[in-house]
């Protein structure tokens, strides 16, 4: 059984990555924070008595489900908003546009205050971030779970609800796509 401290340590170790993972999927920081909070609460409420070793796979599964729930709610909300005058579509377009713009602006502001190397490094990190966000959803999920969350193929397949073969295919395609995209931008890691 996970003690309060073990659960706290676990959540602390995964919260930032979980936030980025959710942000890649939903492209809205506020929504991503809400998703991570929901996932954390669900884990604590329903599986707080599980052994610490089981927590990573459970949390990843809950996070994926919570992201899916968010998209379902958004779909329903957009349907209703569209019915009442198509305001939803305009808002969404604005949101997407603003997020991308603000990312670039923040990067520029931070870089202006740093050294040339820092600027270059920050730009590279941002480009990698952008390229990961551009990946198809399933490829991104598989790639992040396998190589960022340290989950093995079986755990990733369980969390994604697909076969282990599919996980390997998604990971391979994601890596090739990222390699090609970074090479095209002249980035060498």
């Amino acid at each position: 059984m996970a003690t309060d401290k073990e659960l706290n340590d676990f959540l602390e170790s995964v919260e930032r990555r979980a936030f980025k993972q959710a942000a890649y999927a939903v492209r809205k920081d506020e929504a991503a924070l809400d998703i991570v909070q929901d996932a954390m609460i669900k884990l604590a409420e329903k599986y707080g008595d599980k052994p610490p070793a089981e927590l990573p796979a459970l949390f990843q599964r809950i996070l994926q489900t919570t992201i899916l729930d968010y998209f379902r709610r958004e779909k329903v909300r957009n349907t209703w908003v569209t019915l009442f005058g198509g305001l939803g579509r305009r808002d969404d377009d604005d949101d997407d546009f603003d997020i991308l713009n603000s990312y670039e602006a923040e990067e520029g502001t931070a870089a202006a205050e740093s050294s040339a190397d820092h600027v270059e490094r920050a730009q590279t990190l941002q480009l990698i971030d952008d390229e990961i966000q551009k990946l198809p959803t399933r490829q991104r999920e598989a790639f992040l779970m396998r190589y960022w969350q340290d989950m093995d193929v079986a755990e990733t397949a369980e969390a994604m609800g697909c076969s282990e073969g599919s996980v390997k295919t998604h990971c391979s395609r994601a890596t090739h796509t990222l390699a090609a995209a970074l090479e095209a931008k002249g980035i060498k890691l």
């Binding site: 919260e15 930032r16 980025k20 924070l33 991570v36 409420e45 599986y47 971030d129 190589y147």
Partner: protein
């Protein structure tokens, strides 16, 4: 996957981890608050386990502990139990006697009636009774 691909994947992982340190303070604070909220609602297993252990260590009634008490304490525990058993026995006895009395009354009424007992087993007599009951209804 080829070794080059795996190397690239781990370099990207390194870059992603590096990027985590650049998260805004407001985001990290929100995450910490979310963690605190989650911990506050953690599934409570410890109190349940403690209660279960306490229950196991000290059952609600143990006969040995009664005999370990001083005599006044022993009387205080045993006397109500004896009174309860005596009361239950008395109630059972009273109910039994009342039931027997009711049966005796019924038997006496049947035996002392003008009608002989064999009349109740006679099917012709039953038909006569039914006919007698139907006649007043027709008259009405």
């Amino acid at each position: 996957m080829k070794t080059d691909d795996i190397n690239l994947a781990y370099k990207i992982r390194h870059a992603l981890n590096e990027n985590l340190d650049n998260l805004p303070a407001s985001t990290t604070e929100r995450l910490a608050a979310a963690r605190a909220a989650a911990l506050a609602r953690k599934k409570a297993d410890a109190p349940v386990r403690a209660a279960a252990q306490a229950g196991r260590q000290r059952p609600s009634f143990e006969l040995r502990s009664v005999f370990a008490m001083p005599w006044l304490g022993r009387v205080a525990v045993i006397a109500p139990l004896v009174a309860m058993v005596a009361g239950l026995a008395g109630i059972y006895q009273a109910e039994h006697e009342q039931h027997a009395g009711d049966l005796a009354e019924l038997d006496a009424a049947v035996l002392s009636d003008d009608l002989p007992l064999t009349a109740y087993t006679d099917s012709g007599f039953n038909a006569y009774l039914v006919q007698q009951q139907q006649q007043p209804q027709r008259a009405q």
